[in-house]
């Protein structure tokens, strides 16, 4: 495909790990693709292969009309000639060069004047003017990240590869910079591939996500699609869907599927659930579960109302995670305010409500 970045990369590592990845990312319009998966799943290796830092006897990479790697013809374009930007996890700043020296490093073939103009432009854009003569070890984590970004973008790369861009930062800085990074990435106008194992980061930064598990790309679609409708229970676990249960299919028509989880009955939107399937996994995200005190009588649009007992309440940032016993374990996520209004305590009886469209089914075939 002419207007896409395509990769096929297969490699066995001495310790037995195997990478067997195929990926295709459209270049036009430029989007942010997140490679998401648990640690050690091979995300970084895939990113390094795209940069030309990792090679294999079984690898093909095309960037639009260009061939970067082709094992058949022996083509291998070295990193220097791919015109990409690679942001390393701990930024890999040159400790013997100043901030300005780091930013200048990749400016090759420009006149001294042009260099100076470009450097001051970048220093200004990343608010580094006052730090230009500092050395990297005199900078804070957030400042280092800005220097690394400025250095990476200085030679005007055609593709940006980011390896865990926020993981080297402490918690509060990370949260503050997440929004800034999103803004930056969408303003660049070049395709971005970003590796992360942080779910919040993936959700905040990506347009598309490719789930990497044990060296394979197991699902690649929009963030919304993958995080709501994982293809397999394993992916559901990776994207941290709170409730994943094995269920029996009782009845299915064009619109709805009725399932049994232990004693409880649930209705799910049918979507493209295969009609013959008798067994399935159900996935319910905690934030899609609403809770009511069961004494109240309500009319609501939610198709599913499950009586349950509160088993535990755990504090999770500004939210409360509530484990319910509805005949199976169901997890709900409530704001502190909602939790206080309901005056929830352990062993309270509640009614859990879930929209049929938020009940995702994976058929067992």
């Amino acid at each position: 495909m002419a207007d896409a970045l395509t990769l096929r990369f297969r490699k066995t590592f001495p310790k037995g790990a195997l990478i067997d990845a195929e990926l295709q990312v459209g270049l036009n319009p430029p989007i942010v693709t997140v490679l998401f998966g648990p640690s050690g799943s091979g995300k970084t290796t895939i990113l390094r292969a795209l940069a030309g830092l990792e090679c294999s006897a079984n690898c093909v990479i095309h960037f639009g009309p260009e061939t970067w790697v082709d094992d058949k013809t022996g083509v291998f374009i070295p990193p220097q000639r791919r015109r990409i930007g690679f942001l390393f996890q701990d930024y890999a700043l040159f400790s013997h060069l100043t901030v300005a020296g780091n930013v200048r490093y990749g400016l090759i073939g420009l006149s001294a004047n042009e260099q100076r103009r470009r450097i001051s432009e970048l220093l200004e854009r990343f608010q580094l003017q006052d730090l230009s003569s500092r050395y990297p070890d005199q900078l804070s984590g957030g400042q280092r990240q800005r220097v690394a970004l400025a250095r990476t973008l200085a030679p005007q790369p055609r593709l940006l590869l980011l390896d865990e861009p926020l993981s080297a930062l402490d918690g509060p800085t990370r949260e503050a910079l997440r929004g800034e990074l999103r803004h930056l990435l969408s303003s660049l106008g070049i395709p971005v591939l970003l590796v992360t194992h942080d779910r919040v980061e993936a959700l905040a930064l990506g347009d598309q996500v490719a789930i990497v598990n044990e060296g394979r790309i197991v699902q690649h679609a929009s963030i919304e699609e993958v995080f709501r409708r994982p293809l397999t229970p394993a992916i559901a676990k990776i994207v941290a869907i709170d409730t994943v249960q094995r269920v029996r299919v009782l009845q299915a028509d064009e619109e709805f599927v009725t399932i049994a989880v232990g004693e409880a009955r649930l209705i799910a939107a049918a979507r493209d659930f295969p009609s013959g399937a008798t067994e399935a996994f159900v996935c319910i995200r905690a934030e899609d579960v609403l809770l009511l005190k069961s004494v109240e009588t309500v009319s609501a649009s939610a198709r599913n109302r499950l009586p349950g007992i509160v088993k535990s309440l755990t504090h999770e940032g500004p939210m409360w995670r509530i484990e319910l016993d509805c005949g199976f374990t169901l997890t709900a996520l409530l704001t502190r305010q909602a939790c206080e209004e309901l005056a929830l305590q352990e062993n309270d009886r509640v009614l859990a409500m879930i929209k049929a469209t938020n009940v995702h089914l994976i058929s067992r075939s």
Binding site: A51, L53, Q80, F86, D90, A92, S95, H96, Y105, T152
Partner: protein
């Protein structure tokens, strides 16, 4: 004091060190980064002069550069002179003899440079050579300096190899240590003491300056 011997020794040490910089840095980079499975053979060969008796080393170098060897014959054909018992021959032997004292510190220093910095340099469009001079060397320089000083000092003090290859020709191959040996043989202890003391002081001075510089340098350019 035998000033000619001192001058000769300094000249030999300086040239040996220069040659070792030029040959040793690429060799050290290769040793630091190569993943070749038989690399350890090369490492062993490089380290050999540390444990070989100088006479053994000198003997084989003498054979290798002698008039019957291809190297000796090629050299004679080009220059019209023989390598043994000449300054050039001495230089060849000194380079081999001091090789580990340069290459090992070089390799250690280059290995400590974070591989990701080198990769970052590649991704920013810099080739191997530019990366070496702009990233690897500036970050590895304290170790490179240590290698330079060690090989200089080691050459300055060599005796056995010089005797085997160079003999004892004033102004051509009579180095300080040979000169001291001569003086002792002639029971001229006063002169021997003078030359020895000069050598001790000089060596101490070089090392003190180097360590001082290195300490200041580390404060100036934190390399971590």
């Amino acid at each position: 004091m035998d000033w000619r011997a001192i001058e000769l020794s300094l000249r030999l040490s300086t040239l040996t060190t220069l040659v070792l910089l030029i040959l040793g840095l690429p060799l050290a980079s290769w040793l630091a980064f190569s993943r070749w499975r038989w690399k350890f053979f090369v490492e062993a060969v490089v380290a050999l002069p540390i444990i070989l008796p100088p006479t053994v080393m000198g003997f084989y170098v003498l054979i290798a550069i002698g008039p019957h060897s291809p190297i000796g014959q090629a050299y004679a054909a080009i220059t019209g002179r023989g390598l043994p018992f000449s300054f050039q021959g001495l230089l060849v032997a000194s380079v081999l003899y001091s090789l580990p004292f340069a290459v090992q510190p070089f390799t250690a220093a280059i290995s400590t440079v974070d591989k990701r910095l080198i990769e970052a340099s590649w991704c920013l469009g810099r080739g191997w050579l530019a990366t070496f001079f702009r990233v690897t060397l500036p970050l590895a320089w304290p170790g490179v300096l240590a290698g330079v000083v060690l090989s200089f000092a080691h050459t300055l003090g060599e005796f056995g190899v010089v005797l085997m290859i160079g003999g004892n020709l004033s102004g051509i191959t009579r180095t300080i240590s040979i000169s001291i040996f001569d003086q002792v043989q002639a029971l001229d202890y006063g002169a021997a003491n003078q030359t020895s003391l000069a050598l001790v002081l000089f060596s101490f001075l070089v090392l003190a300056i180097t360590y001082g510089l290195q300490r200041r340098g580390i404060a100036l350019w934190p390399t971590r």
